[in-house]
């Protein structure tokens, strides 16, 4: 029996190539239109893709620069709201918006993602992004601890500021989980005879006091179909691996090769983990798909020339045929990842290629893992967690 993997997609503006918006298939003036996002997410939904992440940030998408570069896409929509918009338009796909942990209120994020879970009947998640780059800090003007990047060593543990940002993100995730648990499943009793709508003993304050937050709770939203929506994070090195192992259900990693993927998996498996559930490891691949290798190479070269530099990415780049992408995925599967998250270089073109050429081939090779389940959690083979407060009460 071949190794099987889940397939997810990461949706970003016009695609992950900086010049993607200049591709003939691109619709660069529609990146903030409802039609664009409806079509992308329905395409992914129809293709039996497990989930889509929607990228976001709280600044113009300029990486480390004070002013936007004229050749780069600028302007986008709030990802939680894009996912909420897509919920009633889709049937099966998981919807995972990106949220940064440095500015938003965990209370608002918790209730927003719970609402997405209710509206999608159990298909919600969130991707947490740690830290606040200077452009975001200037937009908010609320904090003085902007992080302009990793220290010269490139290692998170060498920067007290970045370490602090990870601690803040850890608290953020912790508060989300507690708020999501704060209503037991059966808190609403609607007992007409006694006039009780709710059993107050089944709604719990979280009374969280941390280094960065204090949140009293409970959530204003009753417990959602998945109990706790899926938490995800992208991680490239040890401190983020530990953050993901401790707080996430799904981690996105960027192995350079199948062997590298196996090593990352081993490190992740050794990290301490709070939840009793398994951590799902997804390898990211940036893909540009054409029918022949030469066409793919030519298309990438054209975009590279337009961008003025070859495509650089934290994730491995596959510019090739559908079979090439399938081969990469199968090698990663053999190395022990649970899934792949494909970052289309061009939208909608490479998403269509994934939907119409890649996923069917994986399916035909019996390499696609797709449990029949009503919720995203179920689809990923993860159990539905019980509220920690219900558990505590049962024990006491």
């Amino acid at each position: 029996m071949p190794e099987q993997v889940h397939v997810a997609v990461a949706l970003e503006g016009a695609g992950w190539h900086p010049a993607a918006w200049r591709d003939p298939s691109a619709r660069p003036r529609e990146l903030v239109s409802p039609a664009y996002w409806r079509e992308l997410l329905r395409t992914a939904d129809d293709a039996a893709i497990a989930f889509a992440t929607v990228e976001d940030a709280l600044s113009l998408p300029v990486r480390g620069e004070a002013e936007p570069a004229p050749g780069h896409v600028g302007g986008r929509l709030d990802a939680v709201l894009v996912a909420s918009f897509a919920a009633p338009l889709t049937r099966r796909i998981g919807l995972i918006p990106t949220v940064t942990t440095a500015h938003p209120e965990p209370f608002h994020v918790a209730t927003g993602v719970q609402t997405l879970d209710h509206a999608s009947r159990g298909r919600a998640g969130v991707r947490l992004v740690v830290g606040a780059p200077p452009a975001e800090v200037a937009n908010f003007g609320r904090r003085s601890d902007a992080i302009s990047g990793l220290p010269a060593s490139g290692r998170v543990e060498d920067s007290p500021e970045v370490l602090a940002a990870f601690r803040e993100a850890g608290e953020f995730a912790d508060v989300l989980g507690r708020l999501w648990d704060s209503w037991q499943d059966d808190a609403i009793v609607r007992d007409v005879a006694t006039g009780r709508y709710l059993d107050a003993d089944r709604v719990h304050r979280i009374d969280f006091e941390g280094e960065f937050f204090s949140v009293t709770g409970a959530s204003i939203v009753p417990r959602s179909p998945q109990g706790r929506p899926i938490v995800t994070a992208l991680a490239h090195q040890s401190v983020p691996y530990r953050f993901a192992a401790e707080h996430a259900d799904v981690v996105f990693v960027t192995p350079r090769s199948a062997a590298d993927a196996a090593g990352i998996r081993t490190e992740l498996d050794a990290a301490p983990r709070a939840a009793g559930t398994p951590l799902r490891v997804f390898a990211d691949l940036l893909v540009l798909v054409e029918e022949s290798r030469s066409e793919a190479r030519a298309a990438k070269a054209r975009l590279d020339a337009l961008a003025g530099a070859p495509l650089a990415s934290d994730a491995r780049i596959v510019a090739g045929t559908p079979d090439d992408v399938v081969e990469e995925i199968r090698a990663l599967a053999a190395a022990g990842v649970d899934g792949v998250r494909l970052r289309p270089a061009r939208l909608p073109r490479d998403l269509l290629a994934i939907a119409e050429r890649v996923v069917p081939r994986l399916n035909a090779a019996d390499a696609l893992l797709d449990a029949a389940a009503d919720t995203l959690r179920g689809r990923l083979g993860l159990p539905r967690p019980e509220s920690r407060y219900a558990r505590e009460k049962a024990l006491s």
Partner: protein, 455 residues
């Protein structure tokens, strides 16, 4: 020739978490399922309402550390629901209540601009200032904001949001593949603001939305609240719905517009109103009474008094006289209910006076205290009353609140709206592509009318 009729504007309020909502009725559905919101919004759209209106919840109501058990409690996140509704409706406006105290301008402005894009120009923001330590306990900033600073923050917030929305050109990004220019130099323009509440140097990341600026709604009533309304609001959701009082409020608020260079049409006033419909006046009165008794059940009435007395009154009979014990004016405050610590004793005395004078039981008193303005009568009577308010400049319409979820406004849309249409004071269809601003008859925002230091 007669003057053209003033047009009635109607908003549809989704019944919230309070004793207005009758959850014990067998036809009462979920307050949480998206399907409830979808039904509600689609019905509002069938009734050609201007917008659906959602309140905001920032903390569960509680008393002495225990959440309320008797009323509906819990609701979804306002923005997330509205974004979902944008996908399943085409015409009706989508207005959410969102606090200026527990949000940041950059983030909320981009969420509202996103909603405006996703809905094709149907977004609105009910800017409320609700701030106290009780709600603050759920947020990073905590309950730091003094009562007096709430509107300072609200004013700076709204001005900053407008400047962020204005910072992109109407035509959006250049996005010219041939030249490779996505953003023209200087697009968006930088928004610098230094004030008592905010200090930002921002580049907004959402291109200009269909309405330019989402519609701003406001619901505060203090002097500061009215000034904020006159400065920023395009709709006021008021509680002044008795005819004479409504006319006074209307004159007062609209009278504040000219000195700010605004026209009367640039602000609509839509007070909250409930209704009870019957085939005859008598039947409607009976229906109204039934609804009140469902809303204020005996245990609800006692719980209501416990908020005020701040003590256990469970031994008292809701159908009997007011409790003879004195209120506990000790240290602990009741939260999430309109209670004012300092005035407890005076309030109890006043209530005793009313109950004695009119020989009211506990339950009857609570019904009177919690009653909102209600139109009671046949569909014809209700339509003519609504029309009278609008033609005689007491309001520009109403924010209609039903008592059932999600079918609360079905009967209103089916029976009252057609009669308003017959009278000629209500639209007979939506215009294709109309924005919320168009539905409300509001002028387009004038870019740059917000001074940098504006409050």
């Amino acid at each position: 020739m007669s003057r053209p009729l003033r047009q009635v504007h109607l908003a549809a309020h989704f019944p919230g978490v309070n004793s207005t909502t009758v959850w014990t009725d067998p036809s009462s559905g979920s307050q949480i399922d998206f399907a409830s919101f979808e039904h509600f919004a689609r019905n509002a759209e069938r009734g050609l309402f201007d917008y659906v209106f959602l309140a905001e919840g920032l903390r569960l109501r509680e008393h002495k550390g225990r959440v309320h058990e008797l009323d509906v409690l819990g609701r979804p996140n306002t923005l997330a629901v509205l974004a979902g509704l944008a996908a399943v409706t085409e015409h009706v406006g989508l207005v959410g209540t969102l606090s200026t105290t527990f949000n940041e301008p950059y983030e909320l402005a981009r969420q509202l601009a996103t909603l405006d894009h996703l809905s094709g120009g149907r977004a609105g923001w009910n800017a409320v200032t609700s701030s106290d330590a009780f709600h603050g306990a759920n947020f990073r900033r905590g309950g730091y904001l003094d009562h007096a600073d709430r509107y300072e923050r609200a004013g700076e917030f709204a001005a900053l949001a407008k400047r962020l929305w204005d910072s992109w050109p109407d035509e959006g990004p250049r996005a010219d593949p041939a030249s490779g220019v996505f953003l023209d130099e200087g697009t968006p323009s930088r928004v610098r603001h230094t004030g008592a509440q905010f200090d930002v140097d921002a580049l907004f990341d959402v291109p200009r939305s269909p309405q330019g600026r989402p519609v701003i709604v406001q619901a505060g009533d203090s002097a500061d609240g009215r000034s904020f309304g006159a400065e920023h609001a395009e709709v006021i959701f008021s509680l002044h719905a008795e005819f004479a009082d409504a006319q006074d409020f209307y004159r007062d608020v609209k009278g504040r517009l000219a000195e700010r260079g605004r026209t009367e049409e640039s602000l609509k006033i839509l007070p909250a109103a409930t209704f009870a419909i019957g085939d005859t006046a008598e039947e409607a009165r009976e229906r109204s009474r039934e609804i009140a008794l469902q809303q204020v059940r005996p245990e609800t009435a006692i719980a209501y008094l416990e908020q005020i007395w701040n003590r256990d009154l469970s031994g008292y009979d809701a159908d009997g006289p007011l409790p003879d014990v004195e209120p506990d004016t000790g240290s602990e405050l009741t939260h999430g209910w309109a209670n004012r610590h300092a005035a407890v004793r005076a309030r109890v005395d006043r209530l005793r006076g009313i109950a004695e004078a009119d020989r009211l039981s506990v339950r009857e008193l609570v019904i009177r205290l919690t009653a909102q303005h209600t139109f009671v009568g046949t569909p014809g009577h209700i339509a003519s009353e609504i029309d009278r308010y609008v033609q005689e400049r007491a309001t520009d319409g109403f924010t209609v609140v039903g008592h059932l979820t999600p079918h609360g406004l079905d009967e209103f849309a089916e029976r009252v709206i057609p009669l308003l249409q017959e009278r000629g004071s209500y639209r007979s269809g939506y215009e294709e592509g109309a924005t919320l601003r168009d539905l409300l008859g509001l002028p387009s925002p004038v870019r740059g009318d917000v001074p940098a230091g504006a409050r």
